[in-house]
């Protein structure tokens, strides 16, 4: 059995813990590929994967932690969510780096937002809402509030911890997967503002989830020692498919590779775990970091990046897609 692999390279220089990672621009080739990282000190670094240097630093969150980064499909625009209760929209085109718009948030939690880009211009944004258990849906770029998703009075799922907006091919109606503080995952029908299905898959808060819409299967990680794999059937009902026990408790992020072959988890135990997504067979335990790993991200070409509290970003090339 081969020894555990080493990272392909390591990015240093964020000078504080890395809390968000995002790949962009992979479609135009490696030289245009960028890795965006958000740090505890509120800076967003843009890394070139060719020179492996930071080519720009965006400072828009007043020193507060950046917890979510997302580029829009229709152009070089970046969304960054910070704990200063602001969601900034950056224009990165042609080397610019200026905030063009910002949304004021009303939740101080750690819940990352999610977007669903439908048309060329209009897209939908889900962010935690004003009430502690609410989720707010906004129409962008007009910033008009579409609706607020509030669980039924007797449900008490606690705060939303992670969000995932989806629109499946079968149904045009947008759905929202939300992981809650009580360990449950709920599927919301956004247009009807009601919960289609809800399953309790963890006993601890859900820290991250990802969904494979082609296989209608999702995975969630929580503060406990297990990953949960669940599926969505034709009737839009969630079902737990199984749990996968881990050595150490605490998963802060889970990501499925775009080709839906690998699953990566970011662990509080300093390790990134890689699984075969379909069989959930463990493939590798990447023990490079010396502190908790906060986020993982996959590039379109299969590159894996992991950001950690130890201020380093490790980039790995595992099982390259053919």
């Amino acid at each position: 059995m081969a020894a555990p692999p080493d990272p392909q390279f390591v990015l240093r220089g964020t000078q504080s813990a890395v809390h968000a990672l995002h790949f962009c621009g992979g479609a135009q080739g490696r030289e245009h590929q960028r890795l965006l990282s958000g740090s505890l000190s509120g800076l967003v670094h843009i890394w070139s994967l060719q020179t492996r240097r930071a080519i720009a630093t965006l400072d828009g969150h007043g020193g507060q932690c950046v917890i979510w980064l997302q580029t829009l499909p229709q152009g070089p625009q970046l969304l960054s969510q910070g704990r200063d209760l602001k969601l900034c929209l950056w224009d990165l085109a042609e080397g610019r780096n200026a905030v063009v718009d910002s949304v004021d948030l009303e939740s101080v939690g750690f819940c990352r937002g999610s977007i669903l880009a439908r048309g060329q211009q209009r897209w939908m944004l889900a962010v935690p809402g004003r009430g502690s258990d609410e989720i707010q849906i906004l129409e962008m770029p007009s910033k008009t509030s579409v609706c607020t998703l509030k669980p039924e009075a007797d449900a008490k799922p606690g705060m939303p911890m992670c969000l995932e907006l989806r629109q499946t091919d079968s149904s045009p109606r947008p759905r929202l997967l939300a992981g809650y503080e009580d360990g449950s995952v709920a599927l919301w029908d956004v247009s009807e503002r009601k919960v289609c299905s809800r399953i309790a898959c963890h006993t601890e808060p859900v820290m991250g989830l990802d969904f494979d819409s082609q296989k209608a299967r999702g995975v969630s990680g929580s503060a406990e020692k297990a990953l949960a794999v669940w599926s969505l059937d034709e009737q839009q009902a969630l079902q737990v498919r199984g749990t996968h026990q881990l050595t150490n408790p605490g998963i802060s992020d889970v990501k499925i590779r775009p080709d839906r072959k690998l699953l990566a988890t970011a662990g509080w135990d300093h390790r990134v775990r890689v699984f075969h997504w379909r069989t959930m067979k463990p493939l590798a335990v990447l023990a490079f970091h010396s502190a908790a790993v906060h986020c993982v991200a996959f590039a379109a070409d299969g590159l894996l990046a992991a950001g950690s509290k130890d201020r380093r970003i490790s980039v790995w090339s595992l099982y390259p897609p053919s």
């Binding site: 555990p4 050595t247 335990v285 099982y319």
Partner: protein, 825 residues
């Protein structure tokens, strides 16, 4: 005078005359042909009365005459070896006993290697090959007891059994393969079976016969130590023959009964070892133990108590034999009682070698397996008393092997003797011995097959569950395997994930003082454990900080109790304590040695102190210690995995360098080990002298010369180790002197473990103290030690003690050799 008889005498006299004087081949031939009439088996044999007369009186004389004529010229009188054939036929066809005796006599009288000697040796080989030995023995069996001539029988017996020795003496280098003991005694066995067959046949025909000569032959062969050869042939044949026939069994019993007393032990030992099982043994021996006192003594005393070399199957056969028949079972009960008495006797435990104790234990377990509960109940009190005494003595012993033996036997025996009581259960690890003993305690299968003796039942029983689990494992694996076959489109081979261990929380203290605090006051067990784990590394990294709190830290560690279940607690504590002692040797050693003789410590803690002192001394005296003070270099019992992995990459790199480098010449390695002073030098006294001073002052709770002999043994070993590590130091001489005095005071200690410690201490004195100083300062002590060592090497019951004494004696010899060149001639 009877005319018939006188005519025979005349004929023979004439013939002898012709033979001795005539040079005419034809004449000699016809004379011999004529004489052959008397042997029968020709066309016109002589009258039976004449034949008998010839055989009784004249045959030997004729044979002697024939032997005397044997020479190349004489045999060449007629062509084609006709004469030789005729000559030989007299020996091969005449009465076998006389022919054999004459042949043997002639062989022994004929000097040196010569034609005649070789001819006769070949004739004897032919004689054996023709099966005439059976005729010799059969002749003796057929004789009526009153007619037998004891002197002749004795002569015959000595020659039959001693043939290989005698022939080897006569022929020396020319000896024939037929006369080698390896070939001869199996042949003798075969012949004995043929004789017995003849005896059985004639008994069936109503004729009286005696087997006593065969018994004597077998007995004498066994006394000569040829049990394996002769019984190896006899026993399987007799086993087969006695299976269906009562007559054969009777003959066989008679055969063993007639063995003379002085050969009984040899025969019985051989039979017990050769017989494939108790039932066979019972068929061969019958109720011999009830009839013969000697046999009973051999079977129930000598083989059980006075010898311990026999294999377990032999022991099983022996005790099984006693158990098979109801008349013999009282003997088995009696044997068990005596065995238990021996097993429980404290003097036997102290003085008997370990092998004998194992042998007795095996015998006890086999007896228990054979006896029924009712039989055990009758003598239950007696057995229990012996058992309890034995268990107590054994558990007190300082030798682990003796303790284990006590535990195993006590568990099995108490379950049998006292089944209604709560089961006794000791914690011991399973090993070969315990498995073997436990298998013995299981009831034996009824019938004994030939294969049973060869292979004990244990391995089979042990293997079966293994196979099952293997199959189970395969079954478990299969679904995954088939799953991965489906993945053939994306074959992702997993990486090694063995490093995926549970993460310990990062609460480890960063400073030595924090560790002390965490260990003493912390109620947070994770922090407590993390402090314990971190301590060794911290101590090595911060020697200055450690020195400030060294004694306090040593105290904390010494008194530390395992409050939660921490894996490897003992090792962690010991390594930390060793690290502290090595960092601040003088104060900590002073503290530890003073605590060794203080009140209110457990034996465990006292032994920990000794271990720590020895390990710290080893660490201090390690060469090159100053250069690389790595935390994992300490001689702890367990090493962290990172330390174990390091050499492999080093080996890989070295191998790569070696492969890629071309060397034109290979010189000696450039860099030797850098010399550095022995750090133990300055502090050896702190370790050694406080320890050796107080051993004879008993405390209320701690008496080294009394019950706490285990600690005394450890103390002796530790002092020896300290002495050894103090090699090349200036205090070595005075340490050696003190240690020899210590050894002298305790040299007759009753505990083997203590004696081992003393012997190893003597060896380390001889190794560490410079030879010149030994002779100058300690000549008397050395002489006394030498006498004591010689005594131990010869007489000590413990194997290890004897071995250690021999090693120490060798060291003394070497010392003398080293000094001899120095002394002026």
């Amino acid at each position: 005078m009877d005319p018939v008889l006188s005519s025979v005498r005349l004929t023979v006299r004439e013939a002898v005359h012709t033979l001795s004087s005539s040079e005419d081949g034809g004449c000699i031939f016809s004379t011999l042909e004529f004489l052959k009439r008397y042997l029968g088996e020709t066309e016109n044999p002589a009258l039976p009365a004449e034949q008998e007369e010839f055989a009784r009186l004249h045959f030997s004389a004729l044979l002697r005459c024939l032997v005397s004529k044997l020479s190349p010229d004489w045999l060449g009188l007629l062509p084609d070896g006709q004469l030789e054939e005729l000559w030989a036929s007299f020996f091969l066809e005449g009465p076998a006993d006389q022919a054999f005796l004459v042949l043997m006599e002639a062989l022994e009288d004929t000097p040196g290697p010569s034609f005649r000697l070789m001819k006769m040796a070949r004739l004897l080989a032919r004689f054996l090959k023709a099966g005439r030995m059976a005729a010799v023995m059969e002749g003796q069996c057929r004789q009526q007891a009153e007619l037998a001539f004891p002197l002749l029988q004795e002569a015959l017996l000595v020659r039959v059994v001693g043939l290989p020795d005698r022939l080897a003496n006569c022929l020396q280098h020319e000896n024939l393969a037929e006369f080698f003991p390896q070939r001869y005694y199996p042949l003798l066995g075969e012949e004995a079976v043929r004789v017995l067959q003849a005896v059985v046949d004639s008994l069936r025909g109503g004729l009286d016969c005696s087997v006593s000569f065969v018994s004597q032959v077998v007995g004498k062969a066994c006394v000569y130590g040829r049990q394996k050869e002769i019984l190896g042939v006899l026993v399987p044949r007799l086993t087969a023959l006695t299976r269906g026939s009562c007559l054969w069994q009777r003959v066989c019993w008679r055969l063993v009964e007639c063995v003379p007393d002085r050969a009984m032990e040899a025969v019985l030992t051989g039979l017990v070892e050769t017989a494939p099982g108790p039932h066979t043994l019972s068929r061969l021996l019958g109720n011999l133990v009830l009839k013969s006192k000697k046999a009973r003594f051999v079977m129930t005393q000598k083989l059980l108590f006075l010898q311990y070399r026999h294999s377990t199957p032999a022991l099983q056969s022996l005790l099984g034999y006693l158990a098979v028949d109801s008349q013999r079972r009282p003997l088995l009960v009696q044997a068990l009682k005596e065995l238990m008495e021996t097993w429980g006797s404290s003097s036997a435990i102290r003085h008997a070698p370990l092998d004998q104790q194992r042998y007795v234990s095996r015998a006890v377990l086999i007896c228990l397996a054979h006896l029924a509960d009712a039989e055990l109940q009758d003598s239950r009190d007696e057995l229990l008393a012996s058992l309890m005494a034995g268990v107590k003595c054994r558990l007190d012993s300082s030798l682990p092997a003796v303790r284990r033996l006590g535990m195993i036997v006590a568990e099995v025996a108490s379950a049998r003797i006292h089944p209604e009581g709560p089961p006794l259960k000791f914690q011991y690890e399973e090993d070969e011995l315990s498995c073997e003993l436990l298998a013995l305690a299981a009831p034996q299968p009824a019938a004994d097959s030939p294969s049973e003796a060869g292979s004990p039942v244990t391995p089979d029983a042990a293997e079966t569950p293994d196979k099952q689990t293997e199959e189970g494992g395969v079954l478990q694996v299969r679904p995954q395997g088939s799953d991965s076959e489906l993945d053939s489109d994306d074959e992702f081979v997993p990486y090694d994930m063995s490093g995926d261990q549970e993460l310990k929380s990062g609460k480890a203290p960063m400073y030595v003082r924090d560790c002390v605090e965490a260990l003493t006051t912390s109620e947070d067990w994770e922090r407590w454990e993390a402090a314990l784990r971190a301590l060794e590394g911290l101590v090595f990294r911060n020697p200055a900080a450690t020195r400030e709190v060294s004694v306090e830290l040593a105290q904390v560690l010494l008194l530390l109790e395992e409050k939660t279940s921490v894996a490897g607690f003992e090792g962690l504590r010991q390594r930390a304590l060793v690290a502290v002692t090595a960092t601040a040797p003088a104060p900590v050693a002073e503290y530890l040695t003073s605590q060794f003789y203080a009140v209110n410590y457990s034996l465990r803690q006292r032994m920990d102190i000794l271990d720590v002192l020895a390990l710290a001394a080893q660490e201090l005296s390690r060469p090159g210690r100053l250069g690389s003070t790595s935390p994992c270099g300490s001689p702890g019992p367990t090493c962290p995995p990172s330390c174990a992995r390091a050499p492999t990459w080093r080996a890989v790199v070295d191998e790569r360098i070696r492969r890629k480098t071309r060397r034109f010449s290979q010189g000696p390695p450039r860099k030797g080990l850098a010399g550095s002073p022995n750090e133990f030098n300055a502090v050896a006294g702190y370790f050694f002298f406080p320890l050796i001073q107080g051993f004879d002052r008993p405390l209320v709770t701690f008496d080294l010369l009394g019950d706490d002999q285990l600690v005394l043994g450890r103390l002796a070993h530790t002092l020896g180790a300290l002495m050894y590590l103090a090699v090349n130091t200036t205090v070595a001489v005075s340490m050696g002197k003190a240690l020899l005095e210590f050894v002298w005071a305790l040299r007759f200690h009753g505990d083997a473990y203590v004696r081992r410690g003393l012997l190893s201490a003597v060896s380390s004195v001889l190794l560490s103290v410079p030879a010149e100083r030994l002779l100058e300062d300690l000549p008397d002590e050395l002489l006394e030690a030498r006498a004591w060592l010689a005594d131990v090497a010869e007489k000590d019951p413990d194997d290890d003690c004897r071995m250690l004494a021999v090693k120490a004696l060798l060291l003394l010899e070497k010392l003398r050799d080293k000094l001899l060149p120095l002394t002026p001639p």
